[in-house]
Amino acid sequence: MNFNYQMRFSKTGRARFISHLDTLNCLMRAIRRSGFELSFSQGMRPKPILSLAMPLGVGVEGEDEICDFSLQQRAPLTDLAKKISRELPQGMALKSVGPCFDRSKSASRVEFCGYRIELAEIAADFASALAKYNSATELVLLRRRPKGDKEVDIKKYVDEVHLIEEGGGIAFDMKVTPEGTARPDEIIEALAGFAGKEIKPARIVRTEIRLKEEEQPKPPRPGRPPYRGRRR
């Protein structure tokens, strides 16, 4: 029997340099050290059932990251929370953990991510660069990848970029689709183009991950009892 849980955690400060795979390992070991047994997948090479909703780029902080995992036994929640919290490396902190009744993993249901990018300095004409970005109908950039460069229209994923009122920086929502998504540094690249000069972010933070609601199973039709096999 698998008992499914979802935890939300933050990864900030120096921990932002820990890679996606290494983060998974840290979480897995923290759970193990806490005395709880993770469930394993079946097949030739059983792997622990633990996954993140979305990878976080190296160097990007995350304030509300999502991790789905399964345990072999039901765990008392306060106990689970307290123990896992103690076992995380510096910079990673547990925000909440609870049972998860969703039938599909978070990774398949990510709809939007929120980002906040803190800037060391805001140029005087920055607002006009933002306006140009927001009013553009499309913005195609070349994404360099080891497998081969690809053209990406970032406006499809980030339509509007806002200036944060106090504490110089920008914020935006990023759409996540099956075809892909944009990267925060691509948004910065585009803005730099409009501003006519390089923009150096002081901090890049993913503020939230929003999941699509799961389709609830259809309730049985009223009036008729559910079919229970051959009539006796």
């Binding site: 340099f17 290494d22 897995m28 160097g59 910079g91």
Partner: protein, 585 residues
């Protein structure tokens, strides 16, 4: 400082190497002394090192001092550090290493020596002990290569020779009490301790040996790397020392006598270790794990109490019984590693590797029957008294292994024999310390012979690179002058020499040319048996007469029995409370 470091980390590969903050790392606010410990290679290689881990735990849990760690920055970071004047910083505090009271390096391998200089330079600490002042840390070294410290003694204020568990607390005490004393006075006091070699006050030093492995000092809450690292599993030293008496082996000769942990302690320690680390694999570490007297009971007990745990047994003895022990560990293996070391019985007898041809074949057979499909065989070439017949023997063993695999294995087509060939490097304090290494031409010819005659089908031949091995040979039995060669090689661009892509033969040639010699000349050097050796001032506790007797037996092809079962050969190491400790006599 923090902001400057973070800005550097945004521009380098694998920045997680430098962030610290790992579970198990210790930060102290109040401490008597600040000690920094280093393995001179990059983080993901260095964290596996048990010597640093043992001393780190010892200092942090059992003393008032604070131990931090630092590993060698990868060239991309060190270039930026120099450009932007950011000094080497320790992992836990992110504070400059140059502010520490003590800085210790573990000398595990000669090819890491240039990284020591790199780290000293990055920290802003003068390379030579004579140039350091009262504001600089006392820089020391320990580890197996401290058995012949002369090639690097110029760079260290003192050398810790042998086991550290008792010597380190004594060093800390002197440094704590002498906090306001000038450097020279501290060194005078340190020079009086057993096992401490101080170049400022040279004298003959006896290796420090602990009479038994203290349970309370076993590192049961090690630092757990936050990023992928080698040997990333729970490691427990189950015994120190070895009784096999293999003549080529530096560690076997140096770490005598064998001291086993009591049986119950191993199981208890592993359970503690696994609960405290969350690892699902544990390694029972020693020089010859299957020789541990309670190995069978230990493996059975672990399989019962911790069925999910994968138990790793490094250094397997080559015989079918040892392979069967693997069956007691609850995991299915697809490959095992055996080290016959020499291809013929004659040569195996000469190097005292007491393994018969039958043992090898039966061990391989047992491995295939247990479900393995890959067998890795380790051999050395360039051993003393070696002839072509011995090389042919390597080929014969490999082909026999393949035949056995095809017959006994579950899937004849999947059988894979991997043969790994290393070049023998003679080491100090062994029976072979007087003889030279094979030269480059001779080794290359042997490589060619193996390449031409080893069948290719289902057999993979890996020949270790010659050039790094020759440099190792040039340094291993070096002397004080060798330090000049090492420094010159580092200035000429050497670093991360154990990494194939970073090793530079030309930088090392330049190094040895600076002392009027060459890599080859140093590596093939022989010493007459009555000569004074550069490392004679380090007393390993094993007598020179014994080593010479062993050398002569090697020339005659005679075997010396394991002193657990056989007679005592009077190697000289057992005296007072230093003696063999067997868990189950």
């Amino acid at each position: 400082m923090e902001k400057r470091i973070e800005s550097l980390l945004e521009r380098v590969e694998k920045p997680a190497r430098y962030i610290g903050g790992e579970v198990g790392s210790v930060v102290k606010q109040d401490y008597s002394l600040r000690v920094v410990l280093s393995y001179p290679d990059v983080y993901e290689i260095g964290t596996a090192n048990q010597a640093v881990q043992i001393i780190y735990s010892l200092i942090n849990l059992h003393s008032n001092a604070w131990a931090e760690r630092v590993y060698c920055p990868w060239p991309d970071l060190s270039a930026l550090m120099r450009e932007e004047s950011v000094p080497l910083f320790a992992l836990e505090s992110w504070e400059p290493v140059s502010g520490a009271d003590l800085w210790g390096f573990t000398l595990q391998h000669e090819l890491t020596y240039t990284n020591i200089l790199e780290m000293l330079d990055l920290a802003g600490v003068p390379l030579h002990w004579q140039d350091r002042g009262d504001g600089d840390p006392l820089v020391f070294a320990g580890g197996p290569c401290a058995s012949n410290p002369h090639p690097v003694v110029a760079f260290f204020d003192f050398i810790l020779v042998g086991d550290g568990e008792q010597a380190v607390p004594q060093v800390l005490k002197i440094c704590e009490e002498g906090k306001d004393l000038p450097r020279r006075q501290l060194l005078t006091q340190l020079a009086d301790l057993e096992g401490i070699f101080v170049p400022a006050f040279p004298r003959r030093v006896k290796r420090a040996v602990v009479s038994e492995l203290d349970y309370s000092l076993a590192p049961l809450r090690p630092v757990i790397p936050s990023m992928g690292a080698v040997h990333d599993r729970a490691t427990l030293e189950i015994m120190r020392g070895c009784t096999r008496g293999c003549r080529f082996c530096m560690a076997g000769n140096w770490y005598r006598p064998v001291r086993e942990r009591p049986a119950g302690e191993v199981c208890r320690a592993i359970a503690d270790l696994v609960a405290g680390t969350g690892y699902d694999e544990a390694s029972l570490s020693s020089l010859s794990t299957t020789d541990y007297s309670c190995i069978q009971e230990t493996l059975t007990s672990l399989a019962e109490s911790l069925p999910r745990l994968t138990v790793s047994l490094p250094s397997l003895r080559v015989d079918p019984e040892a392979i069967r022990l693997l069956g007691l560990t609850s995991s299915r293996r697809s490959s095992i590693t055996l080290a016959p070391e020499a291809g013929s019985q004659r040569l195996r007898d000469a190097i005292n590797k007491q393994v018969s041809g039958k043992d090898i074949q039966q061990a391989i057979s047992e491995a295939f029957r247990c479900g393995c499909n890959t067998v890795k065989l380790y051999f050395m070439i360039g051993l003393p008294t070696e002839t072509e017949a011995d090389l042919q023997g390597i080929i014969d063993i490999a082909t026999a292994a393949r035949r056995i695999g095809r017959q006994e294995g579950e899937n004849a087509g999947r059988v894979q024999i991997n043969v790994s060939i290393a070049s023998f490097v003679p080491k100090a304090h062994t029976p072979f310390q007087w003889g030279g290494m094979n030269g480059r031409e001779e080794l290359a010819a042997k490589h060619e012979f193996l390449r031409r005659n080893m069948p290719r089908k289902q057999i993979k031949l890996s020949l270790h690179e010659l050039e790094p091995s020759l440099v190792e040979g040039a340094i291993a039995r070096g002397r004080d002058e060798t330090a000049v060669a090492i420094e010159t090689a580092w200035r000429a661009g050497s670093g991360f020499d154990a990494w194939t892509e970073k090793f530079s033969f030309t930088a090392w040639e330049t190094g040895f040319a600076a002392i009027g010699s060459s890599i080859e000349q140093e590596a093939i050097r022989t010493f007459p048996v009555d000569a004074e050796l550069p490392w004679d001032d380090i007393d390993s506790r094993v007598s020179k007469e014994f080593l010479l007797e062993e050398k002569e037996r090697a020339d005659r092809g005679e075997v010396t029995l394991d002193c657990r079962q056989g007679p005592c050969e009077n190697c000289g190491v057992c005296e007072g409370d230093i003696e063999m400790r067997i868990a189950k006599p």
